[in-house]
C-alpha cells in the first residue's frame, strides 16, 4: 500500500514536472526569473537597503506561485487532456494525486530556490534558528497556495475562466501585498487592507525573524496564529469542497 502511494505520487511528478521539463527546458528559466524580477526591482530602487526583505519576498513568492501553477496545470490536464477523469476512475485518491502534482510544482521551484538560497547566504546569513523560521513560513505558504490552487482547479471547467482567475488571485495575494518590502511602507489606512492577504503575514514573520522589521512579541504570535489558521482552514476547504467527482 505504501509503495503504491509513492508510485502514484511519482507518476504525477513525472507527468507534470520531469517529462515536461525535459521537453520544454525554457519553462525553468521562467520559474527562476519570475520571483527574481521583483527582487531585483526592489533591491535597485531601495539602493540595496531592502535586499534582505526582497530575498525573503522571493522565497514567499515562489512558494505562493507553486499553488497558482498547480491550479493552471491541473486545469490544463483536466480540461484539455481529460487526464483527471482517467485518474478519478482509478485507485489513486484525490489526496495522492494532488500530493504528486504539488511535489511536481516544488520540483519546478528548485532552480529558483537554489538561487534564492545562495542570495540569502550572501545577504542575510541567517542563524540556524532564523533559517528554521523561514522554512516554516515557506511551508505554510506552500500548503496554503496548494489548497487554493487545488480547490479552484476542481471547479474550473472553462480553461479561459480558470487562467483569468489564477491571474487575479496571483495579483491579489502576491503582487499587491507587501511581500518584497516591509508592511510599514504602506500608509496607514491601506495597511489594514494588506492584512487581508496571507502572504503579508508570511512576509511580516520572515522579516521580523531576521530583524528587518521590529514587531512586538505578541504581534508575532498573532501573525503565526493567523498563518497556521489560514493554512488549516484552506486545507479543510480543499478536502471538503474540492470536487473530485463532477456534479
Amino acid at each position: 500500500m505504501k509503495s503504491r502511494f509513492f508510485g502514484q505520487v511519482f507518476a504525477a511528478v513525472l507527468v507534470d514536472a520531469l517529462y515536461e521539463m525535459r521537453n520544454y527546458p525554457v519553462v525553468l528559466v521562467n520559474t527562476v526569473l519570475s520571483p527574481l524580477s521583483f527582487l531585483l526591482v526592489i533591491a535597485f530602487v531601495s539602493r540595496g537597503g531592502l535586499i534582505g526583505d526582497a530575498i525573503e519576498g522571493g522565497f514567499i513568492m515562489s512558494m505562493f506561485s507553486s499553488g497558482m501553477s498547480l491550479q493552471s496545470d491541473l486545469s490544463h490536464l483536466k480540461n484539455d487532456f481529460k487526464l483527471q477523469d482517467m485518474v478519478v476512475a482509478s485507485p489513486t485518491s484525490p489526496f495522492t494525486y494532488v500530493t504528486g502534482m504539488a511535489l511536481a510544482e516544488l520540483v519546478y521551484s528548485i532552480p529558483a530556490l537554489a538561487v534564492l538560497t545562495v542570495l540569502a547566504w550572501i545577504f542575510i546569513h541567517p542563524t540556524a534558528g532564523e533559517a528554521l523560521v523561514l522554512v516554516g513560513v515557506m511551508l505554510l505558504m506552500f500548503l496554503t497556495s496548494i489548497a487554493i490552487g487545488f480547490t479552484l482547479a476542481t471547479f474550473s471547467s472553462d480553461i479561459v475562466q480558470s487562467f483569468a482567475f489564477s491571474r487575479l488571485i496571483s495579483t491579489l495575494f502576491s503582487t499587491l501585498p507587501p511581500v518584497y518590502y516591509p508592511v510599514t511602507y504602506i500608509p496607514l489606512p491601506f495597511r489594514y487592507a494588506a492584512y487581508l492577504s496571507p502572504t503579508t503575514y508570511a512576509a511580516v514573520i520572515a522579516q521580523s525573524a531576521t530583524g528587518f522589521l521590529s514587531q512586538a512579541g505578541v504581534s508575532i504570535v498573532l501573525d503565526w496564529t493567523v498563518m497556521v489558521a489560514v493554512t488549516v482552514v484552506l486545507s479543510l476547504i480543499a478536502v471538503k469542497k474540492a470536487r473530485w467527482r463532477e456534479v
Partner: protein, 305 residues
C-alpha cells in the same frame, strides 16, 4: 444485489444550467456484467453521460446504479480499484511518449515502476505501436494517438473498462485489429463501449443498448432487438420495380433501389416472385442499422410506404 450485473434504476441526470433538460431520463436496466456492452445512439443521446456516471466521474441527479454489486456513488472507492476509462475527449499528452503515457497511468493504477514498464511495452506492441513507443505523442498521427490511449487502458487489466468511442479515427485495418483485441479481453473482463459504428457494435457486443434522448430505448442481444421489430427480414432491390402486394414496408434507398422490410413468410414468397421474374435482389435478416433506425425514429417499420 446485482452481483455480476450492471443495474441502473431511475438513473437521471440534469446538468447544472441546462434548464432542467434531462440528459439521462430515469434509466432502468439490468444486464450481465461480462463480455461487451455496446451503447449506440445519436449525438447527444446521453452515452457519455451514462458512461461518466457509471465510471464514478459524474454524480447522478437522482436514481442510482450498481456495478457487480458496488454502488457507483456509495462504493466508489472500492469500485475505482476495478475500473478504467478512456474518456471520449481524452488526448495523449503531447510532451510525453506513448511509453511514458502508459507507464505513468499504470503507476496511478498501483503497479510498480518495473511492472508498469513491462506492461506498457506489451500493450504498445499489442496495438502496433512498438516502433513509435519512444516518439513524442505530438508527432504521432491522430489514429496513433488514439491507440496510445487504448493501450493505456487495456494495459491496466481492470475488471471493467469503459471505452468512449475508442475506434474513432482508426483506419479500417487498425479498427479490425482492435476488435480482435477487445474480443479477447472481453473473455474475462467487462467492457462498456460506445460507438457510432453500428457494424462495430454488431460484431463485438454481447449486449447492445440503444439510447435516444436520455433514455435506453432498446437493450438486448442483436437477436432480441430484432425480435422487437415488426419485420425481421430485409430485401434489397438494386433497381426499383413494380412490387406485388405484400405485408411489410418498402422504402426507396439512397442508390435508387428499394428496401423492403417484411416477415419471414413474405420474404420467402417475395423472393420466389423476384426469382421467377428475373429481378435482382438480396435478402437478409434486418441489420443493426435497421434496428437502430427503428428505435431512434420509429417510423421505419411503422409508417413508411
Amino acid at each position: 444485489m446485482g452481483k455480476g450485473e450492471l443495474v441502473c434504476s431511475g438513473l437521471t441526470k440534469i446538468y447544472d444550467n441546462s434548464n432542467g433538460r434531462k440528459a439521462l431520463d430515469s434509466i432502468e436496466l439490468a444486464v450481465p456484467a461480462r463480455g461487451i456492452l455496446s451503447l449506440i445512439g445519436m449525438n447527444g443521446a446521453g452515452k457519455t453521460t451514462l458512461v461518466r456516471i457509471l465510471a464514478t466521474q459524474l454524480a447522478p441527479t437522482s436514481g442510482g446504479a450498481t456495478l457487480d454489486g458496488d454502488d457507483v456513488v456509495k462504493d466508489a472507492k472500492r469500485l475505482r480499484k476495478r475500473i478504467a476509462v478512456i474518456p471520449q475527449e481524452a488526448r495523449a499528452i503531447p510532451w510525453m511518449t506513448p511509453r511514458q503515457t502508459v507507464l505513468t497511468y499504470l503507476m496511478w493504477r498501483g503497479y510498480t515502476y518495473g511492472e508498469s514498464k513491462k506492461r506498457a511495452a506489451e500493450a504498445l506492441a499489442r496495438v502496433g505501436l512498438e516502433q513509435q513507443s519512444n516518439v513524442m505523442n505530438r508527432r504521432l498521427s491522430g489514429g496513433m494517438k488514439r491507440k496510445v490511449l487504448v493501450a493505456t487502458v487495456l494495459a491496466a487489466d481492470a475488471d471493467v473498462s469503459f471505452l468512449d468511442e475508442p475506434t474513432t479515427g482508426l483506419d479500417p485495418v487498425s479498427r479490425r485489429e482492435l476488435w480482435r483485441f477487445l474480443d479477447e479481453i472481453a473473455r474475462d473482463h467487462f467492457l462498456i463501449l460506445t460507438t457510432h459504428y453500428l457494424e462495430e457494435a454488431e460484431q463485438l457486443a454481447n449486449v447492445i443498448g440503444v439510447m435516444d434522448k436520455g433514455k435506453v430505448v432498446g437493450i438486448g442481444t442483436l437477436e432480441q432487438l430484432r425480435g422487437s421489430l415488426k419485420y425481421q427480414y430485409s430485401i434489397r432491390l438494386p433497381v426499383a420495380v413494380q412490387l406485388p402486394q405484400f405485408e411489410g414496408v418498402a422504402t426507396p434507398g439512397r442508390d435508387g433501389g428499394v428496401q423492403i422490410l417484411t416477415n419471414e413468410g413474405e420474404a420467402y414468397r417475395l423472393s420466389q416472385a423476384f426469382l421467377s421474374a428475373g429481378t435482382k435482389f438480396s435478402v437478409n435478416r434486418v441489420s443493426l442499422d435497421d434496428v437502430f433506425f427503428h428505435f431512434v425514429h420509429a417510423e421505419i417499420g411503422e409508417h413508411g410506404q
